[in-house]
């Protein structure tokens, strides 16, 4: 018998992780001073009591949110959820994925270390290559060269809050989040946070720096194709395929699988460098 809903433990795991990410984010944002981002991050790691734990916990709950959202999306496609939604609803639901990715990404920028700042610079230049909206998008999300991590920090907070509150009001009900779901994901992220320190890259003259893991594929492609095609068009392709899924699921499915295959291969090449 085929399933009619995505697995509940994935969906509620996603909600629980997202919720925990927000709460831990609230905690770590207090000692954080955006005009000295790296000093704040290192301060969290080495000076603030429980700072290292909360930073790692925030990181892992964020990563779990991203991964579980991807899994949830795949399950939704498998149970043909797009057929039961209006095109507008499907558009906004799918839209949560790029917004959560952006929230995750701006979190890296805000760290202020070599990885974060370089990633921010690249994102700024890519955003500016967007036709018409480029300048506005850059000013709302990045603008690293003008204002340091300030706007990325604002975007990080507002995007996360907006996606959580809007999907909470309209897609899931936070009141139905069960305690055991919350505790399970709290424990999972907590154990990871306690035993696996989160990366932090000092400034160096190394000839190679690697961006966040989920963007290694784009970084590799940017070495070979012009920025507009590798950094704007290519990442937007799967989004387009998802939005148009209900109209031609077979084609969209093939495009998605092909894209994922290429991206996986690009990521392996980029990671192996």
């Amino acid at each position: 018998m085929s399933r009619s809903l995505p697995r509940r433990w994935v969906s509620w795991g996603l909600t629980a992780s997202f919720f925990l990410a927000l709460v831990s984010g609230l905690i770590v944002s207090y000692p954080f001073r955006e005009e000295i981002p790296l000093v704040s991050t290192v301060g969290l790691e080495t000076v603030i009591p429980f700072g290292a734990f909360f930073r790692a916990f925030h990181y892992y709950t964020g990563q779990l949110t991203f991964l579980l959202l991807g899994w949830h999306l795949v399950e939704a496609l498998m149970v043909r959820a797009e057929k039961r939604r209006s095109p507008r609803a499907w558009f906004f639901l799918v839209g949560s994925l790029p917004l959560v990715t952006l929230a995750l990404f701006t979190g890296y920028i805000v760290r202020g270390d070599q990885t974060g700042l370089s990633a921010g610079q690249i994102a700024e230049h890519l955003a500016l290559k967007l036709p018409f909206l480029g300048v506005v998008v850059n000013r709302l999300l990045f603008s690293i060269s003008e204002e340091g991590v300030h706007r990325a920090f604002m975007a990080h907070i507002y995007l996360s809050l907006a996606v959580f509150v809007l999907s909470g009001l309209w897609h899931f009900r936070l009141r139905t989040l069960r305690l055991d779901d919350l505790l399970l994901w709290f424990l999972l992220a907590g154990i990871l946070a306690l035993f696996w320190p989160v990366s932090l890259e000092a400034e160096s003259f190394a000839p190679l720096i690697k961006g966040p893991w989920f963007f290694l594929g784009v970084q590799e492609l940017l070495r070979h194709l012009p920025p507009f095609w590798a950094g704007v068009v290519f990442p937007l392709l799967p989004l387009l395929a998802l939005w148009l899924y209900r109209f031609c699921p077979r084609v969209a499915g093939m495009v998605l699988s092909l894209w994922l295959g290429i991206y996986f291969w690009l990521t392996c090449v980029g990671a192996w460098r």
Binding site: S143, L208, Q219
Partner: protein, 126 residues
């Protein structure tokens, strides 16, 4: 039915959102940053600063921005190969800033340099 009232309401909200967006996307104006370089440079020597390189040539000091013309990463200096390398996508430039290899496809940006009493002043765009 879409009435005039609905239209005006939509116009009002769109207008307010537009104004809000306009405010949110403004920057506070800041003067360009001027950096004083006090070090005495020998001909052919490369000085590495936070956001630019300074090279002494026969025509005087030249300042090259450390921002890669590809996507803005901070360039490093590879002394054995006598070139500037971008750690993000491995674009390479020679010591006069000319593009050699990689996805950058353009030369390094030159920054305005002014000679002054204590050394040279380099203007870094914000």
């Amino acid at each position: 039915m879409f009435t005039r009232r609905d239209f005006l309401k939509k116009l009002l909200w769109t207008g307010l959102a537009g104004v809000g967006l306009y405010t949110a996307t403004r920057f506070l104006p800041r003067p360009p940053r001027k950096v004083l370089v006090k070090e005495q440079l020998k001909p052919g020597q490369i000085l590495i600063k936070e956001s630019f390189f300074v090279k002494m040539t026969s025509k005087g000091p030249v300042a090259l921005s450390r921002r890669c013309p590809h996507l803005g990463c901070l360039l490093t200096y590879a002394s054995e190969e006598k070139s500037f390398v971008c750690p993000c996508h491995q674009s390479r430039f020679d010591l006069s800033g000319r593009y050699l290899a990689g996805p950058a496809k353009r030369d390094l940006f030159k920054l305005p340099v002014k000679k002054t009493e204590g050394g040279i002043i380099v203007e870094v765009p914000s």
